[in-house]
């Protein structure tokens, strides 16, 4: 069996974006004048890399350089415009912590909802309910509506549920941006175990020390191109050098 988890060759992604807000009259006008109401925007250009099973990869780059788009293509959420993509292990990705949560529902109901979004069933979640609530520090608030919680508490809840995922391929897209120090310490234990495991992991973050600690390799994306790839420390050093200059 192949040891390759993901193989990407010459992958490019183009979006067609609207030139203006579309209304019925504007659409009619464009159709009559035979004008296009879209323009091309290339987000990724000829991206090539591969990830072996068990590898921990960091993707770094400025905001808007195409990190999230690349991850969404790997997930199968977006289609590629051109190139070759092979995904041999189905990934589970945490993009934004509020996705799948509902403010009107209680914390417990949100655990069920959020957990099933990430492939866990009610039985599994019931077994791990106390663990999740303890990790999130929300045991006393378990029957409160989610809308009564702060952003930080909501993020702790989402991460605590996501950490229970048994997937062999996990993606974290700037998932620890707003966490407080106490929860960050709790997360350390999880990420240390993850780093030592045979699971494949891709992380994006602006926290370079975090990436250095848990990732072996890194890719530096710059305006949709791979600027550099290789050992995590080397790539991050170059990136920081560039950003500092």
């Amino acid at each position: 069996m192949s040891n390759i988890c993901i193989k990407v060759e010459d992958l490019s992604k183009r979006f067609l974006v609207l030139k203006t807000e579309k209304t019925f009259l504007r659409t009619l006008n464009n159709l009559l004048r035979r004008e296009s109401f879209k323009k091309e925007m290339w987000i990724l250009h000829n991206i090539s890399f591969e990830i072996k099973k068990g590898e921990k990869l960091a993707i770094i780059g400025k905001n808007g350089c195409g990190k999230t788009t690349l991850l969404r293509i790997l997930m199968g959420i977006y289609g590629k415009t051109s190139g070759y993509l092979e995904v041999n292990v189905e990934p589970k990705a945490l993009f934004k912590f509020w996705i799948g949560l509902n403010g009107e529902l209680s914390v417990i109901d949100n655990i069920y909802l959020f957990g099933t979004v990430y492939g866990m069933d009610r039985h599994f979640l019931n077994q791990n309910m106390d663990k999740i609530l303890d990790l999130a520090g929300l045991y006393d608030l378990r029957f409160s509506s989610l809308k009564e919680l702060s952003n930080g508490q909501t993020q702790r809840l989402a991460l605590s549920v996501f950490f229970q995922s048994k997937s062999n391929f996990l993606i974290f897209d700037e998932s620890l941006v707003f966490v407080d120090q106490v929860f960050a310490n709790k997360c350390e234990t999880y990420f240390e175990e993850l780093a030592a495991s045979d699971k494949t992991v891709i992380m994006t973050s602006h926290n370079s020390s975090f990436l250095r600690k848990y990732c072996h390799t890194a890719i530096w994306l710059d305006e949709g191109y791979i600027r550099m790839s290789g050992e995590a420390n080397d790539v991050i050093d170059k990136y920081e050098e560039q950003m500092g200059s």
Partner: protein, 274 residues
């Protein structure tokens, strides 16, 4: 370990993969949780709760009955029930299509950030309207028994109900795609749904119209054959027009397949626009 290779694949294989994925365990669990959440939110902080589902059609029926009874009551037996059944069929169509139309915008964040089958969201979106429609049909069933219409022909209701639901799913899927490109469709659809009250024989009889108008409504308003079939099952002791009934079943199935094929072909482009 779940291993999977995604490559460029043909349409039929893509359809097979999608349907296979739709029924995997994790998607079934998610569907149950989404529906459970929608039910909890629907009746959240509501005192009357489920009663609201009954109040709207009954109150509309009462108003239409008092306005039109002098004109139509002598032509139509069990006239209040006739109106109620018509309203229930139309309300279900209006409510369900309105829910599904905003599929991509209301679930945008989850769809953009996960690989959950979009069909799961469509089915979850239509679950509440189906539940409300079934409550209304139960009331209609009560009326049917009360007026002495009940007979063995009720077994024909299940295929018709399924066909009507899949027809609405097909229409909803097409609308959800159009909504991503042209937001005005929401207003256009709102007006169309209002007009449906008048271009569908809810409070009048189709037979009361001219031959030309009858044909025009039958051909261009897809709800008419369905409503005729629902009425024949619920209201008339022995008359079931099997041609119209079969046409309703086939049309529902055909429109669902058409809607689903269009949905599969354009959903990725639509999602990028949502």
């Amino acid at each position: 370990m779940q291993d999977k290779v995604r490559r460029k694949i043909g349409f039929s294989k893509q359809l097979k993969t999608r349907l296979g994925r739709l029924f995997i365990r994790s998607n079934r669990h998610l569907f149950v949780e989404l529906v459970r959440a929608k039910f909890k939110i629907t009746d959240h902080n509501s005192i009357l709760g489920i009663l609201w589902n009954i109040i709207l059609p009954i109150s509309t029926m009462v108003i239409l009955y008092f306005v039109f009874r002098s004109t139509f009551e002598h032509q139509i037996r069990a006239y209040p029930f006739y109106i109620l059944l018509g309203l229930s069929v139309i309300n279900f169509f209006t409510m369900a299509t309105s829910h599904i139309t905003k599929l991509f915008s209301s679930n945008r964040e989850v769809i953009l950030n996960s690989t959950i089958s979009r069909e799961i969201f469509i089915l979850a979106d239509i679950a509440i309207p189906i539940y409300k429609f079934i409550i209304e049909l139960i009331i209609c069933f009560g009326f049917s028994v009360f007026y002495g219409f009940f007979s063995v022909k009720f077994f024909l209701l299940i295929p018709l109900l399924i066909s009507y639901i899949v027809f609405i799913l097909g229409a909803g899927m097409i609308l959800s795609l159009i909504y991503c490109f042209i937001r005005d469709i929401e207003h256009v659809w709102f007006i169309f749904c209002r007009l449906l009250l008048f271009i569908t024989p809810i409070f009048y009889k189709l037979e009361g119209l001219s031959f030309l108008m009858r044909k025009v409504l039958y051909i261009f308003n897809p709800l008419v054959p369905f409503l005729i079939s629902f009425r024949q099952i619920f209201m008339f002791e022995d008359k079931i027009d099997m041609i119209n009934y079969s046409y309703s079943l086939l049309f529902g199935g055909f429109f669902f397949i058409l809607g689903y094929m269009i949905f599969i072909s354009f959903e990725n482009i639509a999602m990028e626009k949502a």
